[in-house]
Every structure is written in C-alpha cells, then in structure tokens.
Amino acid sequence: MIERMEKICIYSVKDQTDDVVEDILKCGVIQPIHAQSVVPDEIKHVLEECEISDISKEEELINRIENGITVLKKFSAEKNLFKKRPFITYKELTEEKVISQSIEICDKIEKAEERISKLRRDLAEMIFREKSLVPWASFDIPAEKCRTESAETYFCVLQGQKTSENIEEILSDKGVPVYLETVHIDEETHYVALLFLKKYNKAVGEALNRLGAKKFDIEGMKGTFAENIEICRSNIKSMNSDLNRGEKEIYDISRGKKILEKASDSLKIKIQYMSGRENFLSTEKVNIITGWIPVSEKENVSKKLAEYDCFCQYEAPDSCEEYPVLMKNNKLVKPFGTITEMYSLPKSRSIDTNWAIGLFFFIFFGMMLSDAGYGIILILGGLLGAKLLDIGDEAREFFKMIGICGFSTVLWGAVYGSWFGDAVPTITETFFNRRIEIPYLIDPLSQPMTVLILACILGVIHLFTGMGIKAYIMIKRGDRWGALFDVGFWYMLLLGLPMLLMTGPWKTAGYILSVTGAVGLVLTQGRHKSKTAGKIISGIMSLYNITGYFSDVLSYSRILALGLATGVVASVVNIMGSMAGNGIIGVILFIIVFTAGHVLNLAINALGAYVHSARLQYVEFFGKYYEGGGKKFDPLRIKTKYVRITEEKK
C-alpha cells in the first residue's frame, strides 16, 4: 500500500525554531519541501528566504575528526563482522563536551602524527647514511687526518668493470703521482681511496670524471668510518625507540576513538538540520517550515509540536499532484520492496503491487535454484545475517528476502529430489556400498517437458495477474470499458487459443472465446485514433501483439534451464568428488571437492536465480501494467554512521 501524504505547514516563533527542527529530525517523518510552493501567493511578498547557515566550520571539523578516526583505526585491530554499533541517546550524542573532547583528541593525534612522520623521515635518512658508510669500514684513518696542507684524499666509488688500475693508468700517463688503495669490493663496485698532492687536483678530477667515478664526500665527518657507523647505529636505535614511543602514544589515544565517532555523528546531525533550513521562509518573528508528512503520522507530530508556541496546518495535495512515495507492507512482503525499488518506485497515484512481486519472485527463485540443501544455507545465511549483522535497513531487508526465498528453494528442491544435487545416493553408494534414493515428485532430468509446461503455466498466471492489475487500475480510475477492451478481450483470446487444441465442447468454447476476443480487439484497439482508416489499421495490427505474448510465455522456460543447470552441476561435483573411491584419500578428496564445488555452484546459481527472477518481473510482468517514476519519500531524520540512537531513558 502506498501511504497517503499531506503537506504540513508549521509556523513557529523564531526563538523556538531550533527546538522545533530538532524534534522534526527526531520524529523522522517529514520531508522538507521549499516553502515557496506551499504558501499562498498573497503573502509571499512579505516573506524572506531563510538565510543559509554557514556550515563550513562544522565540515572542516568533521574532516579533522574523520582523519583522526582513520589514524586510530590502524592501531585498534578489532574488526568484527558481527560487531554492532553501540546504542546512545540523542541527548548524550549532542552534548557539548563530546565536541570539545574530540577537538582535544584531534589536536593530540595531529601532533603525534607530525612527530612520527618527522621521525620516519629522519630515520630513513640515517639508515641511508649508515648503508653508505659500511663499505668503507675497514679504512681506519680518522677523517680529519685525511687532509694536510699539500695532500688530499679522495674516496671514490667505481662502477662497471672499472678498478683502481684504470685510475692509475690514466694518471700515470699524465705523470701524476698517486697512491691508491682499494678498500672494499662488492659485485661490480670498487670502493677506492686515493691519495695525491693538492696541486694535481684538476687532473685527478678529470680522470675520475672520465671513469664515471662518484666521489664520497667526507666533509664535516670526524673520526674513523667505523666510529661513524657506530654513531649512526645508535642513532637508529634511539630513533626506533622514539618511533615506538610515538606509536604507543597514539595507541593510548585510541581509546578516544569512541568519542571521535560520537562527535562525527553529532556534527553530521547538526549539519543535517542546519542545511534543512534552506527551505524555510521567514518573517521578522516567525519561521515557516513546510514538508510532506504521511497521513498516519499526523497525530503524532501534532502532539509533539503542541509543546511549542507554533501553529500547524495540513493540506491534502491536489488530485493531480505527485507526492513522495512510501510503501507500507507487512513483514513478509516488505523485504521484496527492494526489488520494486531497484526498478523504479510506482507513481504516487498508482498502486503498490509488492505482494504480487514478492509471491512470484518467491516461486521463481525457488524453481531456478531448486536445491533443498542450498535452500537451507540461504535460510540460515539470510535470516541470521539480517538478525546478527548491523548493516543498515536496506541491506537487512535484502538479507531477509534471500532468507525467505530459501524456503521456496527448499520446497522446490524437495519436489525435484535434489539435496546438494544427488549427494545422498552418491555418498551412500561410494562409502557404504548401498545406494539410498531420495524420493521426488518430478525429476527434471527425465521429465523436462513436465517442468517446462509447469514453468509456462506459471508464466501465464504471472502475465494474467499483471494484466488483471492493469484492469484493476483502469477500473479504479473509472475506465471500465477500457479495462474490458484492453484486458478482457486479450484474456478471451489468450485463453481461447490453447483451448482449440482440445476436443469436444472445449474446442467449441475455445473457438467462441478466441473469435470474440479477436473481433473485440480489432473493433476497440483503434479507438484512440481520429480517422476511421487509422482505427481499422490499429485494430488489426493489435492482433500482431499475440507474438509478444507468445514470446513472453516462452521466456519462462529459463526457469527450467536454470533449475537443470543447478542440479546437473551439483551432480557433477558429487561425481568428481567420489572418483577416488572410499578410502581415506577418497573421503578427503570428497570433502574438499564437495565443499568448494557446492559453494561455487550455490554462489553462481543464486546470483543467476536472483537476476533472472528479477528480470521476469521487470520485463514480462511490469511491462503489462507498471507505472514507475515515483520519488522516494526521504524524510529529514537522524542518519548516523558509528552509533545508533535509542529512545531517551525516562
């Protein structure tokens, strides 16, 4: 059923507007609309738009807090699928101190973060220095003694095939005396110390350039290389412990994550209600708040608002005005609303047909998956998931839907005698040498035609239900004759045609029905055309639609195909599992193949069953009557990410 909506118009004194809006937010049943569209024209000129509140400060703070939460998340390892968000009252959530505490925590986190990242940089630098010093460790002359008034020592790194001999060669050609010592060799790199007189500085530099040698700079270094390496190492050690201490610091703060989460949600609520104000109009002393409200909630809201000095007025929408759509159904039908929503919500003046969608989806899904074992898994997974997981309302409805469809799957699985395919006969035959058959009503492998006919009959019922709904909508809108012309005649024709295949009085009846229907269609289907020729042509052409109905019905053959696919793949899994006989290895192989195979088969075929059941609704069923394009009712309400709001304790 689609809830009826009315427009509510609240005139509240300015001082109280904040509290009124807060209460509206808590009720969560009013969808604000722009007040301009509701207020009568005569008074519009005295009203001003409410000034848009500045929320940039709040948004900035939220960003800081969210950053803080991400930092802390790294340190709290808890990741529990079944963890539910804590409950908290609205009052506790919006307390001032939540925000002030969270700002303190954010400051601490940001400082610690900054320190840690600086430490990380320094540490990386130090490690690099240590690594570059190590090859020189065996050169035991202190750096300050490497240079005298007239002599100089270079430390250079030679790569490729080049060695100290190359340097010697070049320099002796030029007549430069030089002392060379290869300090260290690893793989293709030679570390060479080179002593020469300062006056040959230029010649040495050129020679080194030619060989592509890199000079290792010891400017500002004191003591031997080995001593310097020692210093680096102890620095690294102390930096590491500093880093650990910094991380420990953040870890200590991580207990404050709960406060940050609260603050984030509390700020989001604040932003929600501040931005809700954009729609208000105001005079000097009064704010005008307008919105859609479900008729069933009127009393509740009126009672709440009676606490304030405000005036509240309701107005029913015009007969042609569309209002936001909220569908209300019982517990069993509600989960299937997700399927309708996925397509498009019905127009507000149309009707809610979730019961039919739910019923047929239930049947088709079961027939397509058609394995009792898989059905049991779906029931457990779906219903337990909906109960135990904290996943938000929409996902919960989806889980419930899967759980409900599991029952249908068990039912059809039992009809087909498929429990994890033919697991029971296979297991008993392989491991106990006695084949036990499971009883069944229909075996789709040996009686595919029976299932095919069943599927097509269900298809016809599905299509006729859709057409019936179309007739119902037309009659409700006062177009009785239209319902007879567009639906009644088609019923006659479509029922009459298959009856022609029977014998005796049935055949005669079929003859009468189909001819009446066909003639009726030819006479009426052109009634919207203006010219006589147009009327006749449209009338005759309408009979061509019969091929459309034919292909619609055949489309339901997928029910058989998907059902067969599940059953046969399941049997294949069982056959492959039992190939190694009944020894220990056989049992182990069977368990592995059985688990992996059936999980895969269940996943792929459940997806297929879901998608194709949905398709049968959208293309075949909705095509007959559905009027989509409604806007979803989206009231101003508390949306939180980390906590859940409960009622105030009294």
Binding site: A565, V568, G608
Partner: protein, 163 residues
C-alpha cells in the same frame, strides 16, 4: 589415409566433436566476456578497492555460458558412456549429437562476448552510482536469455537422442 577417411564414418568421432564444440565455443565466449569485465573492473578497483564485491558480481555474469557449454558436454559424456570409455555409436547418432551441441556452442560464444560488453559498461555504474548496481545486472541478464534458450534446446535435443 585409409584411417583418416574412416574417421568420417565413425559415430564416436562426431560425438566427441560435439563435446568439444559445446565446451570450447561456449567457454571461449565466457572467457572473453569475463575478461572484458575484468579489465573494466580493475580501473574502478584502482580508485576504490572496496568495490571489489560488486565488480565481482558483474564479472561473474558472463561466466554462465561456459557453464552451460560444460554442462552440455558433460551430459553428452554421461549419456553416451564416454566416462566409462567404451563407446560405440552409429554415425547418425554421433552426427545428431554434434548438431545438438551447436546451439549452446555458437550462441554461447556470441552472447558471452556481448554480455561481457554490457557488464563492462555496467562497471562504470559501480564507479559513479554504486547503489544502482542491480540495473546493469538486469541489462546483462537480458543478453543471457538467448544463451539460456540455446542451452535449453541443446539439452532437450540430447536427452531425446536414443543411444
């Protein structure tokens, strides 16, 4: 050469060819289709790895053709006793099996690729409007209809071939 010519009067040859046609062609279609979606999906995943689940669902959709082909191949093997190894089929029966496996093979090849393309463009929907993922799923399912119909015909034909 004599042995090569006798191949064409051997019923077993056609039956084995039928298994190959069903499995190979339909498998090729699915492999290509799943591949196309995978390529598109990694573009989205590099931006937002959390969408892996949704992408996986879309990627799995064009995989069914391969399964249908595999099933037809397997049913032929079961019905003709190929798993036991001792097969003696007349030429007519073998040829009938080959022809019966053509629908699932050929339609599987073409529809697998096209379904892959529809799903791949559906990946863009995941990137921009992750809440709307079911709509491209249904679009992809429309393409699969024809693979299902072909599978059904192949299956009914093979069930009704007398061995």
């Amino acid at each position: 050469m004599e042995t090569f010519a006798t191949l064409f009067t051997n019923g077993n040859f056609y039956a084995y060819l039928g298994v190959a046609v069903a499995v190979v062609l339909a498998g090729m279609g699915s492999a290509k289709g799943v591949g196309i979606v995978g390529e598109a999906a990694s573009g989205v995943l590099s931006e937002d790895p959390d969408k892996f689940g949704q992408c996986l669902v879309l990627q799995a959709l064009p995989g069914t053709q391969g399964i249908y082909g595999f099933l037809i191949g397997f049913i032929i093997m079961l019905n003709t006793g190929m798993l036991g190894g001792d097969v003696q089929l007349p030429v007519g029966t073998g040829a009938a099996i080959l022809v019966a496996s053509l629908p699932v093979g050929i339609v599987g090849l073409v529809s697998g690729i096209h379904q892959g393309r529809v799903s791949a463009s559906g990946v863009k929907v995941i990137a921009k409007r992750p809440d709307q993922v079911s709509k491209p799923m249904v679009s992809a399912a429309l393409v699969e209809t024809y693979a299902i119909l072909a599978f059904l015909i192949s299956m009914l034909l093979i069930f009704n071939i007398k061995i």
